[in-house]
């Protein structure tokens, strides 16, 4: 089916068009359209995946009529397709489950705008996954920045404004770095498409001339994307943003957008620079250390939170830490593990944010744990979903999180010495820490509710939202049980990358 090779482009196009169209629609219609678009994208990506699995090697897809090295390209590989499918699936579910309580955060007339931004973000994510061209990537980074900032800011209270400002500044700073990096890279190679870039970088490395600028480029771009994806020392903006944005936005931000950046980084490492060079420049060790410290610090900070949503936000800092630890190992296995962790976390985190919101809203919008007692009984679905999500992030067997940890650990084994020790012990300790705050929360969800608090009459969750939550829960469990094929795709995809 050759038609399928256009699907990535179609899916992007659908999002763009959708974003234009929704701007003129009524809120309800806009909402519906956005969800539909997400669904379409999901289907398209699924087909793309099916198509890509049939491919021997990734194939480029020319946009416009300039052949390489001028025009800009998409690239259809298994990994891209897999990530696209996973992320769009999560996105679809998130929209399905999250939209109905948006009115609580967004004034009716702003909803259309919000939909536009969602579409844009979706589009940007897809481009970042598929693109084969650094500058296109940059442009969509910026679009994503703006879109995601809008996603945060649409909720009009002081906290969100401040958070959004922080978020904006950090992100712009980061994109500045990225842009500078890209332009310097262009300066020393004269290319923007990834294949030719890769070739000339390899040439540079062989000749050994321009090595310093190359190192600077790597540092700049890595730093930029790391900031955007809230890697540990640069995480300061994340918790507030996630905590105060509307829950659906937080789900999209921390679950999906961050992943897109990281995926771009992986692409950059593999296709542009080449993993060996990265290892040579020790950037990986830096990432590794940051990742490990992120795993631990994130959890520690999360434990110290008194507000459930901030806790969840901090936990994503630690989860991102896992991913960077995987990257930082600088080995095939490590990156593969990181990719799987990305999927697992995307699934679990979005569902956590959403179910948290449910639980909080049945507890009278009070986020302190004390008020959450018994929330698991007041809203059973959300309770169960939260429990499963929490288990996944703690790394309880039969959930995605456990497999991710297992992969990370096995990936860590070959690298002997202190690194192995660090990986294993960090994993063990952070598991324990995660358990401490997540399961504590779960327990308090099922404790007997204090009598003196009067809870609002529990509004019933719309059937579709509940269904979506359950589906995403099943997705998490599926990642735990059927991880075999997925890992195989990831490994094959990485092979295709280089």
């Amino acid at each position: 089916m050759t038609l399928a090779r256009n699907f990535p482009f179609f899916s992007i196009l659908v999002c763009l068009v959708g974003s234009v169209v929704t701007s003129v629609l009524k809120p309800r219609a806009a909402k519906a359209l956005t969800i539909i678009i997400a669904g379409v994208v999901l289907v398209l990506s699924a087909f793309t995946l099916r198509y890509a699995l049939a491919l021997e090697s990734a194939e480029p897809f020319m946009m416009g009529h300039f052949p390489a090295p001028w025009g800009n390209e998409l690239r259809i590989g298994r990994l891209e397709a897999l990530m696209a499918t996973g992320i769009s699936a999560v996105l679809f579910i998130t929209l399905l489950a999250g939209f109905y309580h948006m009115p609580a955060f967004v004034s009716e007339k702003k909803l259309g705008l919000y939909c536009i931004m969602v579409d844009l973000a979706m589009c940007a994510i897809l481009v970042m996954l598929y693109t084969n061209d650094l500058f296109t990537a940059y442009v969509f980074i910026e679009i994503m920045t703006i879109a995601s900032c809008a996603l945060v800011i649409v909720r009009q209270n002081g906290h969100t404004l401040v958070a959004a400002t922080r978020y904006m500044i950090m992100n712009l700073l980061a994109s500045g770095l990225v842009l500078l990096g890209i332009s310097m890279l262009y300066g020393i190679t004269g290319h923007l498409l990834m294949e030719p870039l890769g070739r000339s970088v390899r040439h540079i490395v062989e000749t050994g001339q321009y090595m310093e600028p190359l190192t600077v480029v790597i540092a700049l771009i890595t730093a930029g994307l790391a900031i955007k994806s809230a890697m540990f020392p640069f995480h300061a903006w994340a918790p507030d943003t996630y905590a105060f944005a509307p829950p659906m936005s937080s789900a999209i931000l921390s679950g999906l957008i961050g992943k897109a950046y990281i995926f771009l980084l992986i692409k950059f490492f593999y296709r542009v620079i080449g993993l060996d060079v990265i290892v040579g420049t020790n950037v990986d060790s830096v990432l590794f250390v940051c990742g490990v410290s992120g795993m631990l610090m994130g959890s520690v900070l999360a434990i110290s939170q008194r507000d459930i949503r901030r806790m969840v936000a901090y936990s994503s800092v630690s989860q991102i830490g896992y991913i960077y630890m995987g990257l930082g190992m600088g080995t095939e296995a490590g990156v593969a593990a990181a990719l799987f962790q990305m999927l697992a976390h995307a699934a679990a985190k979005s569902l956590l944010f959403l179910s948290t919101n449910e639980l909080v809203s049945v507890s009278g919008d009070r986020k302190r744990f004390h008020y959450l007692h018994g929330a698991g009984y007041r809203n059973p679905v959300a309770g169960v979903v939260f429990t499963v999500g929490a288990m996944s992030l703690v790394g309880i067997p039969f959930t995605g999180g456990f497999i991710a940890k297992l992969n990370l650990a096995t990936a860590g084994m070959p690298m002997g010495g202190w690194m192995r020790a660090l990986v294993l012990i960090a994993l063990a300790i952070s598991t324990l820490l995660n358990a401490v705050y997540y399961l504590h929360t779960v327990v308090s969800l099922y404790r007997r509710a204090p009598a003196e608090i009067d809870y609002p009459p529990s509004h019933r969750v719309p059937r579709h939202a509940a269904a979506a939550l359950v589906i995403s829960m099943l997705l998490t469990v599926y990642l735990g049980l059927g991880s075999g094929p997925i890992m195989r795709v990831i490994e094959a995809g990485l092979k295709m990358f280089a």
Partner: protein
């Protein structure tokens, strides 16, 4: 050393500008100044890019009086990048300003830390 710096003057200037912008963005607490810093930073990048694309003694890549020989023009791609970049920066400057206005309306100050404090205060209330 100085010679080297002088030879690629633009890059040097660009880097210096970038540094200035960066520091302002990080260290200034006034939102407006932060935005300005942001712009300086991006401008620096554009300068850098443009200087990359510029080739001594050629014309901008706009076809005039029918000369279509590639060798007559400078490399068009960086120019294109710069244009895109400018558009982007304009848009986010806009958003930042809008944000700033909102914040100012709400808290009557532009000092980001102060605003953060006030926001916390609200939360307590």
């Amino acid at each position: 050393m100085w010679q080297a710096l002088y030879d690629n003057l633009e890059q040097t200037v660009a880097v210096i500008l970038f540094g200035i912008g960066f520091t302002i963005l990080l260290l200034q607490r006034n939102l407006i100044r932060k935005i300005i810093g942001l712009n300086i930073m991006s401008t620096a990048t554009y300068l850098f890019l443009a200087s990359m694309g510029y080739i001594q003694g050629r014309k901008a890549p706009i076809v005039t009086d029918g000369v279509t020989d590639l060798a007559a023009y400078i490399n068009p791609i960086p120019a294109g990048l710069v244009l895109t970049g400018i558009v982007v920066s304009v848009s986010f400057t806009g958003i930042m300003l809008a944000l700033t206005v909102r914040l100012y309306r709400r808290y009557r100050t532009l000092d980001i830390d102060q605003i953060a404090l006030l926001a916390k205060g609200e939360d307590m209330a």
